[in-house]
Amino acid sequence: MLYNAKYIIPGLVVAVAAFTAPFWLNIGTPSYTYPDVAVPTGEDSKQCVEPKEWMRTQHMTLLNTWRDEAVRFDKRTYVATDGKKWDISLQNTCLGCHANKVDFCDKCHNSNNVQPYCWNCHVAPKGNE
Protein backbone atom coordinates (compact mmCIF):
# COMPACT_ATOMS: atom_id res chain seq x y z
CA MET A 1 0.00 0.00 0.00
CA LEU A 2 1.24 3.44 -0.95
CA TYR A 3 0.81 6.12 1.69
CA ASN A 4 0.39 9.77 0.73
CA ALA A 5 0.13 8.85 -2.95
CA LYS A 6 -1.33 12.27 -3.76
CA TYR A 7 2.03 13.82 -2.85
CA ILE A 8 4.37 10.97 -3.85
CA ILE A 9 3.14 10.43 -7.42
CA PRO A 10 3.22 14.12 -8.54
CA GLY A 11 6.60 14.53 -6.80
CA LEU A 12 8.04 11.57 -8.67
CA VAL A 13 6.56 12.73 -11.97
CA VAL A 14 8.09 16.19 -11.58
CA ALA A 15 11.48 14.76 -10.56
CA VAL A 16 11.61 12.27 -13.45
CA ALA A 17 10.50 14.97 -15.90
CA ALA A 18 13.24 17.29 -14.64
CA PHE A 19 16.01 14.70 -14.80
CA THR A 20 15.04 13.44 -18.25
CA ALA A 21 14.56 16.97 -19.61
CA PRO A 22 17.61 16.77 -21.94
CA PHE A 23 16.01 13.81 -23.69
CA TRP A 24 12.40 14.92 -24.08
CA LEU A 25 13.20 18.57 -24.72
CA ASN A 26 15.24 17.46 -27.71
CA ILE A 27 12.55 15.26 -29.26
CA GLY A 28 11.92 16.53 -32.75
CA THR A 29 14.75 19.05 -32.73
CA PRO A 30 17.14 18.85 -35.68
CA SER A 31 20.35 16.93 -35.02
CA TYR A 32 23.08 19.21 -33.80
CA THR A 33 26.18 19.74 -35.92
CA TYR A 34 29.42 21.57 -35.33
CA PRO A 35 28.80 25.33 -35.80
CA ASP A 36 29.44 26.22 -39.42
CA VAL A 37 31.71 29.23 -38.94
CA ALA A 38 32.70 31.69 -41.66
CA VAL A 39 35.79 30.79 -43.65
CA PRO A 40 38.66 33.25 -43.01
CA THR A 41 39.47 35.73 -45.76
CA GLY A 42 42.55 37.87 -46.45
CA GLU A 43 46.19 37.43 -47.43
CA ASP A 44 47.33 35.25 -44.51
CA SER A 45 44.15 33.20 -44.38
CA LYS A 46 45.86 29.95 -45.43
CA GLN A 47 47.34 29.39 -41.99
CA CYS A 48 46.20 30.66 -38.60
CA VAL A 49 48.63 31.77 -35.88
CA GLU A 50 48.60 28.25 -34.48
CA PRO A 51 47.09 25.00 -35.86
CA LYS A 52 43.30 24.89 -36.19
CA GLU A 53 42.76 22.20 -33.50
CA TRP A 54 44.89 24.11 -31.01
CA MET A 55 43.09 27.35 -31.79
CA ARG A 56 39.71 25.73 -31.24
CA THR A 57 40.51 24.82 -27.66
CA GLN A 58 43.06 27.49 -26.73
CA HIS A 59 42.14 30.69 -28.63
CA MET A 60 40.80 32.34 -25.49
CA THR A 61 44.06 31.72 -23.63
CA LEU A 62 46.03 33.08 -26.56
CA LEU A 63 43.86 36.19 -26.75
CA ASN A 64 44.22 36.73 -23.02
CA THR A 65 47.99 36.35 -23.21
CA TRP A 66 48.13 38.73 -26.17
CA ARG A 67 46.06 41.28 -24.29
CA ASP A 68 48.37 41.08 -21.26
CA GLU A 69 51.54 41.25 -23.36
CA ALA A 70 50.41 44.14 -25.51
CA VAL A 71 48.64 46.23 -22.89
CA ARG A 72 50.77 45.56 -19.83
CA PHE A 73 54.25 44.78 -21.21
CA ASP A 74 54.15 46.52 -24.59
CA LYS A 75 55.25 43.30 -26.23
CA ARG A 76 53.90 43.45 -29.77
CA THR A 77 55.37 40.39 -31.47
CA TYR A 78 54.23 36.80 -31.04
CA VAL A 79 56.45 33.94 -32.15
CA ALA A 80 54.25 31.00 -33.11
CA THR A 81 55.32 27.40 -32.49
CA ASP A 82 56.27 27.09 -36.18
CA GLY A 83 58.59 30.08 -35.78
CA LYS A 84 56.51 32.53 -37.73
CA LYS A 85 56.26 36.04 -36.28
CA TRP A 86 52.88 37.67 -35.80
CA ASP A 87 51.82 41.15 -34.84
CA ILE A 88 50.03 41.03 -31.48
CA SER A 89 46.80 42.78 -32.40
CA LEU A 90 43.22 41.62 -32.28
CA GLN A 91 42.10 44.33 -34.65
CA ASN A 92 44.75 43.80 -37.32
CA THR A 93 45.94 40.20 -37.01
CA CYS A 94 42.88 38.23 -35.88
CA LEU A 95 40.18 40.32 -37.46
CA GLY A 96 42.28 40.70 -40.61
CA CYS A 97 41.08 37.25 -41.63
CA HIS A 98 38.17 36.56 -39.29
CA ALA A 99 36.36 39.73 -40.18
CA ASN A 100 32.88 38.46 -39.53
CA LYS A 101 31.93 38.47 -35.87
CA VAL A 102 28.37 37.27 -36.42
CA ASP A 103 29.32 34.29 -38.56
CA PHE A 104 32.62 33.47 -36.93
CA CYS A 105 32.79 34.32 -33.21
CA ASP A 106 29.13 34.42 -32.36
CA LYS A 107 28.10 31.16 -33.99
CA CYS A 108 30.13 29.00 -31.63
CA HIS A 109 29.84 31.30 -28.64
CA ASN A 110 26.05 31.58 -28.78
CA SER A 111 25.63 27.88 -29.29
CA ASN A 112 27.78 27.14 -26.24
CA ASN A 113 26.58 30.01 -24.07
CA VAL A 114 29.93 31.82 -24.05
CA GLN A 115 29.78 35.58 -23.60
CA PRO A 116 33.27 37.04 -23.95
CA TYR A 117 33.65 40.70 -23.11
CA CYS A 118 36.07 41.52 -25.97
CA TRP A 119 33.63 43.94 -27.54
CA ASN A 120 33.22 46.03 -24.42
CA CYS A 121 36.41 47.79 -25.60
CA HIS A 122 37.09 46.61 -29.16
CA VAL A 123 35.06 47.66 -32.15
CA ALA A 124 33.19 44.64 -33.40
CA PRO A 125 33.82 43.88 -37.09
CA LYS A 126 30.74 44.18 -39.23
CA GLY A 127 31.39 41.58 -41.88
CA ASN A 128 33.57 40.22 -44.66
CA GLU A 129 32.74 43.03 -47.12
Partner: protein
Protein backbone atom coordinates in the same frame (compact mmCIF):
# COMPACT_ATOMS: atom_id res chain seq x y z
CA UNK B 1 39.06 6.32 3.52
CA UNK B 2 42.05 4.76 1.76
CA UNK B 3 39.81 2.16 0.13
CA UNK B 4 37.39 4.76 -1.20
CA UNK B 5 40.25 6.98 -2.35
CA UNK B 6 41.89 4.12 -4.24
CA UNK B 7 38.51 3.10 -5.69
CA UNK B 8 37.79 6.61 -6.95
CA UNK B 9 41.35 6.89 -8.28
CA UNK B 10 41.06 3.57 -10.12
CA UNK B 11 37.74 4.61 -11.66
CA UNK B 12 39.31 7.82 -12.90
CA UNK B 13 42.41 6.07 -14.20
CA UNK B 14 40.38 3.36 -15.92
CA UNK B 15 38.28 5.97 -17.70
CA UNK B 16 41.30 8.10 -18.58
CA UNK B 17 43.40 5.29 -20.00
CA UNK B 18 40.38 3.47 -21.44
CA UNK B 19 39.25 6.49 -23.41
CA UNK B 20 42.72 6.74 -24.90
CA UNK B 21 42.63 3.05 -25.80
CA UNK B 22 39.50 3.41 -27.94
CA UNK B 23 36.84 2.80 -25.30
CA UNK B 24 35.34 6.30 -25.63
CA UNK B 25 31.86 5.00 -26.46
CA UNK B 26 31.90 2.75 -23.39
CA UNK B 27 32.83 5.53 -20.96
CA UNK B 28 31.16 8.37 -22.85
CA UNK B 29 27.92 6.83 -23.99
CA UNK B 30 27.06 3.33 -22.70
CA UNK B 31 28.02 4.00 -19.09
CA UNK B 32 26.24 7.40 -18.82
CA UNK B 33 23.05 6.01 -20.38
CA UNK B 34 23.15 3.03 -18.03
CA UNK B 35 23.78 5.42 -15.14
CA UNK B 36 20.73 7.54 -16.04
CA UNK B 37 18.53 4.42 -16.12
CA UNK B 38 19.91 3.11 -12.80
CA UNK B 39 19.62 6.53 -11.20
CA UNK B 40 16.01 7.20 -12.20
CA UNK B 41 14.86 3.61 -11.68
CA UNK B 42 16.69 3.39 -8.35
CA UNK B 43 15.30 6.67 -7.08
CA UNK B 44 11.72 5.68 -8.02
CA UNK B 45 12.18 2.30 -6.33
CA UNK B 46 13.62 3.96 -3.23
CA UNK B 47 10.89 6.59 -2.92
CA UNK B 48 8.12 4.03 -3.49
CA UNK B 49 9.74 1.78 -0.87
CA UNK B 50 9.65 4.65 1.60
CA UNK B 51 6.10 5.61 0.64
CA UNK B 52 4.99 2.02 1.28
CA UNK B 53 6.44 2.05 4.79
CA UNK B 54 3.83 3.03 7.37
CA UNK B 55 4.65 5.69 9.94
CA UNK B 56 3.58 3.97 13.17
CA UNK B 57 3.94 6.99 15.41
CA UNK B 58 3.71 10.74 14.95
CA UNK B 59 7.36 11.67 15.42
CA UNK B 60 7.76 15.29 14.31
CA UNK B 61 10.62 17.08 16.01
CA UNK B 62 9.61 20.15 17.94
CA UNK B 63 12.11 22.89 17.25
CA UNK B 64 10.41 25.56 19.37
CA UNK B 65 7.39 26.53 21.39
CA UNK B 66 4.30 24.58 20.50
CA UNK B 67 1.01 26.44 20.15
CA UNK B 68 -0.34 26.87 23.65
CA UNK B 69 -2.12 29.65 25.51
CA UNK B 70 -2.90 32.81 23.58
CA UNK B 71 -0.26 34.90 25.29
CA UNK B 72 2.58 32.40 24.65
CA UNK B 73 4.21 33.04 21.29
CA UNK B 74 4.39 29.83 19.21
CA UNK B 75 7.25 28.96 16.85
CA UNK B 76 5.11 28.59 13.74
CA UNK B 77 7.87 27.34 11.43
CA UNK B 78 10.01 25.30 13.82
CA UNK B 79 7.01 23.61 15.45
CA UNK B 80 4.38 23.82 12.73
CA UNK B 81 0.81 22.98 13.70
CA UNK B 82 -0.82 23.48 10.31
CA UNK B 83 -0.21 22.18 6.82
CA UNK B 84 0.96 25.62 5.69
CA UNK B 85 3.42 25.62 8.59
CA UNK B 86 4.74 22.21 7.54
CA UNK B 87 5.22 23.46 3.97
CA UNK B 88 7.12 26.44 5.37
CA UNK B 89 9.28 24.21 7.53
CA UNK B 90 10.04 21.90 4.59
CA UNK B 91 10.98 24.88 2.42
CA UNK B 92 13.33 26.15 5.14
CA UNK B 93 14.80 22.68 5.49
CA UNK B 94 15.26 21.99 1.78
CA UNK B 95 16.35 25.44 0.66
CA UNK B 96 18.22 26.74 3.71
CA UNK B 97 19.11 23.61 5.76
CA UNK B 98 17.29 24.93 8.84
CA UNK B 99 18.10 21.96 11.07
CA UNK B 100 21.81 22.18 10.28
CA UNK B 101 21.68 25.86 11.17
CA UNK B 102 20.74 24.82 14.71
CA UNK B 103 23.87 22.68 14.99
CA UNK B 104 25.75 23.00 18.28
CA UNK B 105 29.07 21.79 19.64
CA UNK B 106 29.86 20.92 23.21
CA UNK B 107 33.05 21.88 24.98
CA UNK B 108 34.23 21.53 28.55
CA UNK B 109 35.81 24.69 29.85
CA UNK B 110 39.03 23.40 31.49
CA UNK B 111 39.20 26.22 34.04
CA UNK B 112 35.94 25.69 35.90
CA UNK B 113 35.05 22.29 34.37
CA UNK B 114 31.77 23.54 33.02
CA UNK B 115 30.07 22.24 29.88
CA UNK B 116 29.39 24.96 27.35
CA UNK B 117 27.26 24.58 24.21
CA UNK B 118 28.28 26.66 21.23
CA UNK B 119 26.35 27.37 18.11
CA UNK B 120 28.33 25.76 15.27
CA UNK B 121 27.51 27.11 11.87
CA UNK B 122 30.53 26.06 9.78
CA UNK B 123 29.02 22.82 8.56
CA UNK B 124 25.81 24.63 7.69
CA UNK B 125 27.69 27.31 5.77
CA UNK B 126 29.85 24.97 3.72
CA UNK B 127 27.07 22.44 3.17
CA UNK B 128 24.86 25.22 1.83
CA UNK B 129 27.69 26.55 -0.35
CA UNK B 130 28.40 23.08 -1.69
CA UNK B 131 24.80 22.29 -2.57
CA UNK B 132 24.09 25.63 -4.22
CA UNK B 133 27.35 25.56 -6.21
CA UNK B 134 26.45 22.07 -7.36
CA UNK B 135 23.00 23.28 -8.39
CA UNK B 136 24.44 26.23 -10.32
CA UNK B 137 26.95 23.93 -12.02
CA UNK B 138 24.17 21.48 -12.86
CA UNK B 139 22.05 24.26 -14.37
CA UNK B 140 25.00 25.71 -16.30
CA UNK B 141 25.61 22.33 -17.95
CA UNK B 142 22.27 22.57 -19.72
CA UNK B 143 24.06 24.67 -22.33
CA UNK B 144 25.37 21.37 -23.69
CA UNK B 145 21.91 19.82 -23.86
CA UNK B 146 19.81 22.59 -25.39
CA UNK B 147 19.97 24.32 -28.75
CA UNK B 148 19.36 27.24 -28.82
CA UNK B 149 20.60 28.02 -25.32
CA UNK B 150 17.80 29.65 -23.25
CA UNK B 151 18.48 33.19 -22.14
CA UNK B 152 18.18 32.31 -18.42
CA UNK B 153 21.34 30.20 -18.76
CA UNK B 154 23.14 33.29 -20.04
CA UNK B 155 22.12 35.12 -16.87
CA UNK B 156 23.36 32.26 -14.70
CA UNK B 157 26.74 32.31 -16.44
CA UNK B 158 26.87 36.08 -16.28
CA UNK B 159 26.36 36.23 -12.53
CA UNK B 160 28.56 33.18 -11.91
CA UNK B 161 31.42 34.84 -13.81
CA UNK B 162 30.67 38.39 -12.75
CA UNK B 163 34.21 39.00 -11.48
CA UNK B 164 35.45 38.66 -15.11
CA UNK B 165 38.73 37.14 -13.98
CA UNK B 166 40.66 35.64 -16.89
CA UNK B 167 39.43 33.90 -19.99
CA UNK B 168 37.46 31.65 -19.84
CA UNK B 169 35.85 33.66 -17.06
CA UNK B 170 36.48 32.26 -13.61
CA UNK B 171 33.22 30.95 -12.18
CA UNK B 172 32.54 31.76 -8.54
CA UNK B 173 30.79 28.41 -8.20
CA UNK B 174 34.02 26.66 -9.25
CA UNK B 175 36.04 28.36 -6.54
CA UNK B 176 33.41 27.96 -3.84
CA UNK B 177 32.64 24.31 -4.54
CA UNK B 178 36.33 23.43 -4.21
CA UNK B 179 36.51 25.28 -0.88
CA UNK B 180 33.32 23.59 0.31
CA UNK B 181 34.52 20.13 -0.77
CA UNK B 182 37.83 20.65 1.00
CA UNK B 183 36.01 21.69 4.17
CA UNK B 184 33.61 18.75 4.02
CA UNK B 185 36.56 16.40 3.53
CA UNK B 186 38.95 17.94 6.07
CA UNK B 187 36.34 18.08 8.82
CA UNK B 188 36.15 14.29 8.66
CA UNK B 189 39.94 14.06 8.87
CA UNK B 190 40.66 16.73 11.47
CA UNK B 191 37.89 16.03 13.97
CA UNK B 192 38.74 12.72 15.74
CA UNK B 193 35.12 11.95 16.63
CA UNK B 194 34.04 12.48 13.05
CA UNK B 195 36.97 10.49 11.71
CA UNK B 196 35.92 7.61 13.93
CA UNK B 197 32.35 7.51 12.60
CA UNK B 198 33.24 8.20 8.94
CA UNK B 199 32.87 5.19 6.68
CA UNK B 200 33.65 4.39 3.05
CA UNK B 201 30.07 5.45 2.31
CA UNK B 202 31.02 8.96 3.49
CA UNK B 203 34.34 9.26 1.71
CA UNK B 204 33.59 7.58 -1.60
CA UNK B 205 30.96 10.10 -2.81
CA UNK B 206 33.24 12.91 -1.66
CA UNK B 207 36.15 11.58 -3.71
CA UNK B 208 33.89 10.98 -6.70
CA UNK B 209 32.60 14.55 -6.55
CA UNK B 210 36.16 15.82 -6.13
CA UNK B 211 37.11 13.89 -9.27
CA UNK B 212 34.06 15.18 -11.10
CA UNK B 213 34.67 18.79 -10.11
CA UNK B 214 38.43 18.46 -10.63
CA UNK B 215 38.14 17.14 -14.17
CA UNK B 216 35.50 19.75 -15.00
CA UNK B 217 37.65 22.61 -13.74
CA UNK B 218 40.68 21.16 -15.48
CA UNK B 219 38.85 21.04 -18.81
CA UNK B 220 37.67 24.62 -18.43
CA UNK B 221 40.85 26.32 -17.30
CA UNK B 222 43.85 24.08 -17.96
CA UNK B 223 43.80 21.07 -20.27
CA UNK B 224 41.22 22.54 -22.60
CA UNK B 225 38.41 20.75 -24.34
CA UNK B 226 36.78 21.91 -27.56
CA UNK B 227 33.35 22.58 -26.04
CA UNK B 228 31.72 22.92 -29.44
CA UNK B 229 32.79 19.37 -30.23
CA UNK B 230 31.73 18.18 -26.78
CA UNK B 231 28.30 19.63 -27.44
CA UNK B 232 28.08 17.76 -30.76
CA UNK B 233 28.87 14.52 -28.90
CA UNK B 234 26.43 15.24 -26.03
CA UNK B 235 23.62 16.24 -28.39
CA UNK B 236 24.32 12.97 -30.21
CA UNK B 237 23.65 11.10 -26.96
CA UNK B 238 20.35 12.86 -26.24
CA UNK B 239 19.28 12.34 -29.86
CA UNK B 240 20.34 8.66 -29.58
CA UNK B 241 22.53 9.08 -32.67
CA UNK B 242 26.19 8.56 -31.69
CA UNK B 243 28.62 11.18 -32.97
CA UNK B 244 32.35 11.01 -33.53
CA UNK B 245 34.61 10.98 -30.47
CA UNK B 246 37.66 11.94 -32.53
CA UNK B 247 39.85 14.47 -30.78
CA UNK B 248 37.84 14.74 -27.55
CA UNK B 249 39.99 15.18 -24.46
CA UNK B 250 40.25 11.95 -22.39
CA UNK B 251 39.42 14.10 -19.37
CA UNK B 252 35.95 14.56 -20.84
CA UNK B 253 35.33 10.82 -20.59
CA UNK B 254 36.86 10.70 -17.12
CA UNK B 255 34.46 13.48 -16.14
CA UNK B 256 31.50 11.53 -17.54
CA UNK B 257 32.65 8.34 -15.81
CA UNK B 258 32.88 10.02 -12.40
CA UNK B 259 29.38 11.38 -12.95
CA UNK B 260 28.06 8.00 -14.09
CA UNK B 261 29.46 6.18 -11.06
CA UNK B 262 28.02 8.88 -8.83
CA UNK B 263 24.59 8.46 -10.45
CA UNK B 264 24.78 4.67 -10.19
CA UNK B 265 25.57 4.65 -6.46
CA UNK B 266 23.17 7.54 -5.82
CA UNK B 267 20.01 5.58 -4.94
CA UNK B 268 21.98 3.07 -2.83
CA UNK B 269 24.13 5.43 -0.78
CA UNK B 270 23.65 8.34 1.57
CA UNK B 271 23.31 10.61 -1.47
CA UNK B 272 19.71 9.44 -1.65
CA UNK B 273 18.97 12.14 0.95
CA UNK B 274 18.08 14.24 -2.11
CA UNK B 275 14.75 12.40 -2.16
CA UNK B 276 14.78 11.38 1.48
CA UNK B 277 14.65 14.90 2.87
CA UNK B 278 11.10 15.18 1.54
CA UNK B 279 10.05 11.93 3.21
CA UNK B 280 11.39 12.53 6.72
CA UNK B 281 8.53 12.02 9.19
CA UNK B 282 10.41 14.12 11.76
CA UNK B 283 10.10 17.06 9.36
CA UNK B 284 6.98 16.54 7.27
CA UNK B 285 4.47 15.71 10.01
CA UNK B 286 2.65 18.58 11.71
CA UNK B 287 3.36 18.98 15.44
CA UNK B 288 -0.31 18.52 16.36
CA UNK B 289 -0.03 15.30 18.37
CA UNK B 290 -2.14 16.80 21.18
CA UNK B 291 -4.97 17.76 18.81
CA UNK B 292 -5.10 14.95 16.26
CA UNK B 293 -4.92 11.25 17.06
CA UNK B 294 -2.34 9.47 14.89
CA UNK B 295 -3.55 5.96 14.13
CA UNK B 296 -0.86 3.43 13.34
CA UNK B 297 -1.67 2.35 9.79
CA UNK B 298 -0.65 -1.25 10.39
CA UNK B 299 -3.05 -1.69 13.32
CA UNK B 300 -5.86 -4.12 12.56
CA UNK B 301 -9.24 -2.36 12.52
CA UNK B 302 -10.60 -2.70 16.06
CA UNK B 303 -14.09 -4.21 16.48
CA UNK B 304 -15.92 -2.31 19.21
CA UNK B 305 -19.01 -3.52 21.05
CA UNK B 306 -20.39 -0.57 22.97
CA UNK B 307 -22.59 -0.73 26.07
CA UNK B 308 -25.50 0.67 24.04
CA UNK B 309 -25.18 -2.24 21.61
CA UNK B 310 -24.88 -4.67 24.53
CA UNK B 311 -28.10 -3.29 26.04
CA UNK B 312 -29.82 -3.62 22.65
CA UNK B 313 -28.80 -7.29 22.56
CA UNK B 314 -29.95 -8.13 26.10
CA UNK B 315 -32.67 -5.54 26.86
CA UNK B 316 -35.52 -8.02 27.41
CA UNK B 317 -33.70 -10.46 29.74
CA UNK B 318 -32.26 -7.45 31.60
CA UNK B 319 -35.70 -5.93 32.08
CA UNK B 320 -37.03 -9.29 33.26
CA UNK B 321 -34.22 -9.58 35.77
CA UNK B 322 -34.94 -6.02 36.96
CA UNK B 323 -31.55 -4.66 35.96
CA UNK B 324 -31.35 -0.88 35.42
CA UNK B 325 -31.52 0.11 31.73
CA UNK B 326 -30.43 3.33 30.08
CA UNK B 327 -33.21 2.96 27.52
CA UNK B 328 -36.23 1.17 28.97
CA UNK B 329 -38.05 -1.58 27.11
CA UNK B 330 -41.00 0.74 26.33
CA UNK B 331 -38.78 3.51 25.02
CA UNK B 332 -36.94 1.06 22.81
CA UNK B 333 -40.19 -0.38 21.44
CA UNK B 334 -41.58 3.10 20.75
CA UNK B 335 -38.36 3.94 18.97
CA UNK B 336 -38.53 0.73 16.90
CA UNK B 337 -42.13 1.43 15.91
CA UNK B 338 -41.22 4.96 14.90
CA UNK B 339 -38.47 3.60 12.68
CA UNK B 340 -40.11 0.61 11.05
CA UNK B 341 -43.87 1.39 11.38
CA UNK B 342 -43.75 4.99 10.29
CA UNK B 343 -46.51 4.72 7.66
CA UNK B 344 -48.73 2.92 10.16
CA UNK B 345 -48.66 5.65 12.81
CA UNK B 346 -50.48 8.45 10.96
CA UNK B 347 -53.24 5.95 10.07
CA UNK B 348 -53.77 4.99 13.74
CA UNK B 349 -53.78 8.66 14.75
CA UNK B 350 -56.73 9.35 12.48
Amino acid sequence: MIVSFVAALLIGLAAWTGSQAGLQYLFGMALPLLAVVVFIGGMIWRVLYWAKSPVPFAIPTTGGQERSLDWIKPARLDTPMTKAGVVGRMLLEVLLFRSLFRNTTTRVDPQNMRITYFSSKWLWLFALLFHYCFLVTFIRHFRFFLEPVPVCLEWVEFFDGILQVGVPTLFLSNVLIVCALLFLFLRRIVNPKLRYISMANDYFPLFLIMGLVGTGICMRYFDKLDVAQAKVFIMGIVHFSPQSVEGLNPLFFTHLTFLSVLLIIFPFSKLVHMGGVFLSPTRNLPCNTRQVRHVNPWNKPTVFHTYAEYEDDFREPMAEAGLPLEISLEEAQAHDNEKSGKPVEPASAQ
